[in-house]
Amino acid sequence: MNKTININLGGYAFTIDEDAFETANHYLNTLTRHFGGGEGAAEIMQDIETRMGELVNRNKGTRTIVNKVDILEAISVLGTPEELRDIDFAESTTNEKKKDTSSFQIKTGKRLYRDGDDKVIGGVCSGLASYFGIQDAVWVRVAFVLLGLAGGASFIIYAVLWAIVPVAKTVSERLEMMGEPTNVNNIAKMVKEELEELSDKLHDTFSKKDSKFSCRKSPKQDNTGDPKTSGWTWDMKTRQPEKLEAPYNHKDFV
């Protein structure tokens, strides 16, 4: 049993199975995205839809309801998005590809930011290191300290830079800091890296916690590092619930 839907496909009225409808809808949507920005895309889609209607109408013959096979046959005649990508835009892509790369790059120049992820004080040195393409920010830090000790004004310079250089917060700012073009690929790469970093961090924290829990003999012995979730704990000796000396306010939980 299948639910049916009434549709208008390119001027043909059909009663169509739900799964067939999903297939057709997905196909047309994919194509729309494929032709998306191109010239006359709406018109192309209209033509394709009309033709699809015609093909489906022919396939279904005298049946009342359009099924998935009808749709799949029509798609095989019209061509899957992959087939269409290979052939029809072969010519126009040469120009469009060039256009694409340029339009996706918003800004390519390097910009000076403070690196909040790699900082000792304010991330000024690591920001400068990225800006000048120095692999290791340590050298910039050493230079700053040496200049400061030699009577230079590097401490003041540092303070001023700290105050006026913005910290790279967003992904695109971080890319700009490293001088990589701000395009979709790089942003995706960056986000992926950051997620991996984050999951590593989380993993580390949890494994530390685990080891802490495993070597602990009783909750009383080291309750300094314990996560205090409620004010109550179980005293092993008295076997009575016991209120911890809570270093927090009750208000925090209300």
């Binding site: 052939i87 835009f89 010519e91």
Partner: protein
């Protein structure tokens, strides 16, 4: 240099010539154009033709009008414009040249 890519490029150049050729004789319904081209083995999937037709139309080589149909919704008929004929003339000339060049080089041995 990929064979598939070259093939696609060649097919594509010739495809426009064929469409214009077909339409220079008479105005045709889109699906009929496709049937003709498919019988000539030039078209693999139909979807490739619609962008092509739209491009030719936007370039001013083709124009279309709607015709009522007994079987379904109104049909889009394409016909060639004067500009299109001039373009077709140019294409045909260069096709003849290419054809000569190819046959000249391939029958040399």
């Amino acid at each position: 240099m990929k064979l598939d890519n070259m093939k696609a490029q060649m097919r594509k150049g010739v495809l426009e010539l064929c469409i214009l050729n077909l339409l220079s004789a008479e105005a045709m319904y889109t699906s009929d154009i496709i049937e003709k081209l498919k019988s000539s083995q030039l078209v693999v999937v139909e979807g490739t033709l619609y962008p092509l037709l739209t491009r030719l139309k936007n370039a001013g080589f083709l124009e279309y009008y709607w015709m009522e149909s007994n079987y379904g919704p109104p049909r889009k008929y394409f016909k060639i414009t004067d500009e299109g004929r001039t373009f077709l003339k140019g294409l045909t000339d260069s096709w003849v040249e290419i054809n000569e060049a190819v046959s000249l080089t391939s029958h040399k041995s």
